[in-house]
């Protein structure tokens, strides 16, 4: 098992180099000069411009800039924001908990509803229920976030007035945030109504972000389950006199989970991409919104640093999924 994990980690190295190269070059393909943007409406002399370019290392050749950058990354230095002058890594981690909280809640929704819905659709094959679940999943999968989000806001915040429109918590509350997770911190603060406020802010963005992964997971669970239910070992379990609950919930589900876990791992990437849109729509102060703002400001170090950190996180999550896969599927573990 240890060897299996080490081999997986070894595969990450070339992936990392590829991702860093892409993050580095993409941002330089964007039109616009960060130094001119920094100067704003005051403008600057060519000499000042050259000095600023030199100070930022932008006058060096691209390969040299890349090597400088890679060297910094490997020592934990992702550079500093040209706008706020704070280290990228600090800015990232001050915003990351908000995104993490949103993503975790979205994932809980997606897995918690997607898997049972997929199982139900598989068991009730050919029924109206199955068609309903699969039809809803298809609609959810096809729903663009930039449309689905405002739609929910109009209904629940506008017409019904049940939830707030944006932010993480009502401005009425102020308390220290040791964990960075608003749900937990609001509970810890002991302030009355704080938790409810945090939760009501979270609900809509979490639903919006969860919709696509939920649909994908439900569909994948259904097809995996249908395949597994026809297997010989499911018949064996029934031949042993096992109740349907156990046949489906243990014998079939464990096998059906093998492809589903892979899908869940892949959805983490979808979640990160979705977070950018969702956070922008709901003014959620996470890394998605931070990245979008940085693009508009041509904040090179932030964009490439943020991109790289997100990529690293996705890679690590997929590593975790691979390891988990080994636990679920004994055939992988022993080869």
């Amino acid at each position: 098992m240890l060897q299996f994990i080490l081999r997986r980690i070894a595969v990450l190295v070339p992936t990392f180099i590829g991702v860093s190269l892409i993050a580095f070059s993409f941002i330089r393909l964007l039109p616009g000069d960060p130094v001119i943007l920094m100067a704003g409406e005051h403008g600057m002399t060519p000499a000042q411009h050259a000095a600023a370019m030199h100070a930022l290392g932008l006058d060096k050749s691209l390969p040299l800039q890349y090597l400088d950058y890679l060297g910094g990354v490997l020592t934990g230095d992702f550079g500093s924001s040209v706008v706020t002058k704070r280290p990228v890594i600090d800015e990232f981690f001050s915003r990351f908990p908000a995104t993490l909280e949103l993503s975790i809640c979205a994932m809980i929704l997606a897995v918690g509803i997607g898997i049972p819905a997929g199982m139900l659709a598989a068991i009730k094959r050919g029924s109206v229920l199955e068609q309903g679940i699969m039809g809803t999943a298809l609609i959810g999968y096809s729903m663009p976030i930039f449309w689905w989000g405002p739609l929910l806001i109009i209904l629940f915040s506008g017409i019904l007035g049940w939830t707030p429109v944006s932010g993480r918590i009502s401005l009425m509350y102020y308390f220290p945030t040791p964990t960075g997770f608003m749900l937990i911190d609001s509970l810890l603060s002991g302030q009355e109504g704080a938790f409810t406020s945090a939760l009501s802010h979270l609900v809509l963005p979490a639903i919006v972000l969860a919709t696509i992964p939920l649909a994908v997971i439900a569909r994948q669970t259904r097809s995996a389950m249908l395949e597994v239910l026809g297997e010989d070992y499911v018949r064996t379990a029934r031949a042993k006199g096992m109740p349907p609950r156990r046949v489906v919930g243990i014998h079939a589900l464990r096998n059906a989970m093998i492809p589903v876990v892979t899908t869940i791992g892949l959805q983490v990437g979808v979640l990160m991409a979705g977070a950018i849109l969702t956070e922008t729509i709901f003014s959620w102060p996470g890394i998605g919104k931070w990245m979008v703002d940085s693009v508009f400001r041509r904040d090179y170090p932030v964009i490439q640093g943020g991109l790289l950190i997100i990529a690293i996180i996705i890679m690590l999550v997929n590593l975790a999924v691979d390891v988990l896969y080994g636990f679920i599927n004994p055939r992988i573990r022993h080869t």
Binding site: D232, T236, A239, G241, M242, P243, R254, P330, H334
Partner: protein, 335 residues
Amino acid sequence: MALLEIENLSVSFQTSGGMFRAVHDISLTCDQGEILSIVGESGSGKSVAMLALMGLLPWTASVEAKRLAFQGNDLRAMGPRARRKVIGREMAMIFQEPMSSLNPCFTVGFQLGESLRKHLGLGRKERREKAIELLKQVGIPAPEKRLNVFPHQLSGGMSQRVMIAMALACDPKLLIADEPTTALDVTIQAQILELLVDLQKKKDMALILITHDMGVVAETAERVQVQYAGEKVEEQHVKDLFADPHHPYTAALLAALPERATDKRLPAIPGVVPGQYDRPEGCLFSPRCRYADDLCRRSVKRQGPEFGGALCNYPLVNGRPTGKEEANAMDDVTS
């Protein structure tokens, strides 16, 4: 009272082309300590009839029977819960493909222990002891070590031994073996058959052996039932069946045995078992039968026990059809 009594069992499947009758009016009985063999080509409904008895058919199947009794209790009158107390405990089944019949995600010990817990309510330690004892019984070396092994680490023969151990876990009164040796190589086939017969004698249980291998029948069975296209065509004691088959189909099956062939060319039965769309009128075997005449293509009658209950107008005696002259004479008189 026989241990198992099946009277006029019919099984139909709902298909896109209408109902397909896979088993038609099959009756059989099996006593304690007896080995009954059911033979027939693929598609003759051998497995389907036994799966119907076990309640393992998919929901597209509809099962009808005049009587379906085990130990005098009608299985159809039982609720699913009561029936699951019989299945896997009093009545067990092993299948054709041992490699895919074991759940790849669980250890041998888990899969063995499951029945022991459900039906016998044994604790963890007792389950382990009993599982080791069962594995020893089916001739698996170093059983303590095998408990923690996953099915993919076992060979086909070993898997079938584990399947047998699982089936015997609760000392069933009846064991149904559905072509247990088909997927195994020849040397292992003999071992598994020997093991089955040996255990059957030791435990004094009834064994229903489904096979299409006449060699297996000759070696193991006491009573033989021949099925063709979902119908029972003959039933005899094994010695009598081999000496004097009454149904032309049985005779053709026996003639096709390589051991019995005298010509250079192995005799074969022309054609295939009729499917859903090409079922003939009258005798289902008539298109492939060398003795069939117009009467056979219109109707067929069941003979008495003196002809092994053969479903044939002109049952064979010592290889010659009987009653044909009289029928022809009758035809001459009437015409």
